[in-house]
């Protein structure tokens, strides 16, 4: 069931010819099938586009890429990492999937000493007690965007907020992130079963509660359902809706103007104004025919991060410890689509977090940047990590 790409064949050839081992081999692992495949594909596409812009080289060395599908299954993810290390003899791993998959891969990553760059997950334990020298969170710590929304809802002067999410670990983490910065009253916290499709009962209860603001964390199709049903109940436009990971380039395609008025927290959006981001967005739209999401941006960043790190090593990445140190230092140097970026002591990002708003423009939907909620934001777990 593993989906390998042409690049994997190239890597296979490289294995057959040990003399070519001066190249840099990178394993990409992410969810490439099933309902969440969009996120993995975006990371992969962003990463491959970055590589294309670097002429297929990382730090001047020819790069071989091996691509695997973790199917959003922790055990499959762990096997893939093992395969990367033992069979493909990779020099770095990129992607690493969702938080649950990353947690299952953690031990093998730690033992290997190979730099591993997570372009989606940033679970609390990895940012805190289980922080690992060779594991880098290039995307975000999971609470980051919710923290920004908590702060933003606070800044907007709302006295109370109604919180809704799916009932699983990430949902709870997100609401905790929100509450860490929002000081007003919490009207109610609603946890719905993961995968619930119809929110009529919850929306009726929400209408009756009449809160000043709503904060939600529903991803993918669930988020699309939820926004659509809010709109049909006549709440969109009346009740300020704040969210994270619900509105992105992908869900906007299915929501279009139905998302009008939604405010969301993110570390990047295609409207962010800097040269690296503009170049990326333009090329991505041309190549793949749709607007890139933040997941694609993380993948693109991963390519440039590795490029800078390999360059610092002058192309020779055989000393893993030095390579890991180079990746960490490269965090503050590589040209990120997010503008400013650096790794904290726990290898999690120090970055800005923004509030964006989906705004109707004629028959289309556009994204507007409202505010920079946090500048150089650090996660809440960094003090629990023993690394310097």
């Amino acid at each position: 069931m593993k989906k390998s790409m042409i690049a994997a064949l190239l890597a296979g050839l490289a294995l057959g010819a040990p003399a070519a081992r001066a190249d840099v081999t990178v394993g990409f692992s992410g969810v490439l099938s099933g309902p969440q495949a969009v996120l993995g594909q975006d990371q992969r596409d962003g990463f491959l586009l970055g590589l294309e812009h670097l002429d297929g080289k990382l730090g001047g060395q020819k790069a071989d890429i091996v691509i695997e599908d973790d199917q959003l299954k922790p055990d499959v993810g762990a096997q893939i990492v093992q395969k990367f290390l033992e069979r493909d003899k990779v020099d770095a791993v990129v992607g690493l999937g969702f938080s649950n998959v990353l947690m299952a891969e953690l031990r093998r990553i730690k033992d290997s000493g190979v730099p591993a760059i997570a372009t989606n997950a940033g679970p609390g334990p990895v940012a805190g007690k289980l922080c690992t020298a060779n594991l880098f969170g290039l995307a975000w710590q999971n609470d980051t965007m919710s923290e920004a929304m908590g702060q933003y809802v606070q800044d907007m002067g709302h006295k109370n907020a109604y919180l809704m999410t799916s009932s699983y670990q990430a949902g709870k983490d997100k609401l905790n992130g929100f509450k860490r910065f929002f000081k007003g009253d919490i009207v109610k916290e609603v946890y719905t079963p993961l995968g619930q499709l119809d929110f009529s009962a919850e929306i009726s209860a929400l209408q009756a509660a009449k809160p000043e603001a709503l904060f939600v964390f529903y991803t993918g199709g669930t988020g699309v359902n939820f926004v659509r049903q809010l709109g049909q109940a006549g709440l969109m436009g009346k009740l300020p809706v704040y969210s994270e990971s619900m509105i992105d380039a992908n869900t906007l395609v299915s929501l279009k103007t139905q998302a009008d008025g939604n405010i969301y927290g993110a570390t990047w959006s295609h409207v962010l104004d800097n040269p690296q981001s503009k170049r990326f967005v333009e090329a991505f739209e041309k190549k793949y025919g749709h607007t890139p999401s933040e997941y694609a941006a993380n993948g693109y960043d991963a390519a440039y991060l590795l490029d800078t790190a390999v360059r610092k090593m002058k192309g020779d990445v055989s000393d893993r410890k030095a390579f890991v140190a180079a990746v960490k230092a490269a965090g503050a140097e590589f040209p990120s689509v997010r503008g400013k970026f650096a790794f904290n002591t726990n290898n999690m990002p120090i970055q800005n977090v923004y509030a964006f708003k989906a705004v109707k423009e004629g028959d289309d939907i556009a994204v507007k940047q409202l505010a920079t909620v946090f500048t150089d934001h650090q996660d809440a777990y960094v003090s629990e990590c023993g690394m310097k």
Binding site: P35, S200, A201
Partner: protein, 306 residues
């Protein structure tokens, strides 16, 4: 507990109930009369949703999109009947489950190939967007429309099954298909027609659900489970049972989700009540199924029908 909220929750339950009824009535007919387990029934629902949404986006006519959704699912049903179900009627349920499970995966992948794996864009006409005040609380117009269509179809199905020759043969077929065949009715044609009818109803459910739910590959899988619960509770082969069970299950599910966490706060701490309440609410319908199976192993409408 305020009464207008309670009434709108009842409406929510009713609306979910008619969707479940549309979906499960076809399943129960096919299972009851042909003794064929069609796990791909959820895929027919998905076909209806995708084609309905695409038809609306292309034409801008809501009624055309309904017709397209129903027709496409019925056509897919006809193909499934002819190519997959027909050779397997005489075989064990295990073969049918395997074959239709394969179909389910085939349709999910096909949807990705045609429409991609991002949720598909769906919208509804301006005139049925928004909400009206009913029982003193705003309620989405579209959901009222779903209820109306569902009730109309339920009445139509009753008429078809109870008052027409086709319905008479169908009812006879449920009891003894071989005897009906011996008496000179074309059972093959009857089966084809029934399969198409069931598929068309699933397609209608899909088209109607499209604007409420997200239209994407795999959307039929979770609702299939609910539909199976409905037909087991309602009694396999009984349309009336399916209607009753669909409404009861949907109302219990909706009210459970709405009020259980709240009720549990009377005995538990708020955070524990919230977690336990939502967990218990999602179990309620399965508890109901276990209860019904314990006392009426053939479903609530079984003895009433025979």
């Amino acid at each position: 507990m305020n009464s207008s909220l309670f009434l709108s929750q009842l409406l929510n339950g009713l609306q979910l109930g008619v969707l479940l009824f549309l979906l499960s009535s076809g399943l129960t007919l096919i299972f009851g009369i042909m003794n064929f387990i069609n796990l791909a029934h959820g895929s027919l629902y998905m076909v209806g949703a995708f084609v309905g949404a695409a038809a609306y986006n292309a034409s801008g006519s809501f009624w055309f999109s309904l017709a397209a959704g129903v027709a496409s699912a019925a056509l897919a049903g006809l193909l499934i009947e002819h190519l997959v179900a027909r050779p397997l009627y005489r075989h064990d349920h295990l073969y049918q489950v395997l074959a239709t499970f394969g179909l389910m995966m085939f349709f999910n992948e096909l949807a990705i190939v045609i429409w991609g794996n991002r949720p598909y864009f769906v919208t509804i006409p301006e005139s049925i967007r928004g909400a009206v005040t009913i029982f003193g609380a705003p309620y989405p117009v579209y959901r009222l429309l779903v209820i109306a269509v569902g009730i109309a179809v339920a009445f139509g199905a009753w008429f078809l099954i109870q008052k027409t020759r086709f319905g008479m043969l169908t009812r006879a077929g449920t009891t003894n298909a071989a005897m009906v065949s011996v008496l000179g009715a074309n059972v093959d044609l009857l089966k084809k027609a029934l399969f198409m009818l069931g598929a068309g109803l699933a397609g209608l459910a899909g088209t109607l659900a499209g604007p409420i739910l997200s239209v994407q590959s795999g959307m039929g899988d979770p609702v299939l489970i609910l539909a199976l619960v409905v037909i087991v509770v309602g009694g396999i082969g009984s349309i009336r049972g399916a209607l009753l069970a669909a409404i009861v299950i949907a109302v219990i599910d909706t009210l459970g989700r709405a009020y259980l966490p709240h009720l549990l706060t009377l005995v538990l701490a708020p955070s524990a009540a919230n977690t336990a309440g939502s967990a218990l609410a999602s179990m309620l319908i399965y508890l109901l199924m276990a209860f019904v199976l314990a006392f009426r192993p053939h479903g609530i409408m079984y003895s009433a029908r025979r």
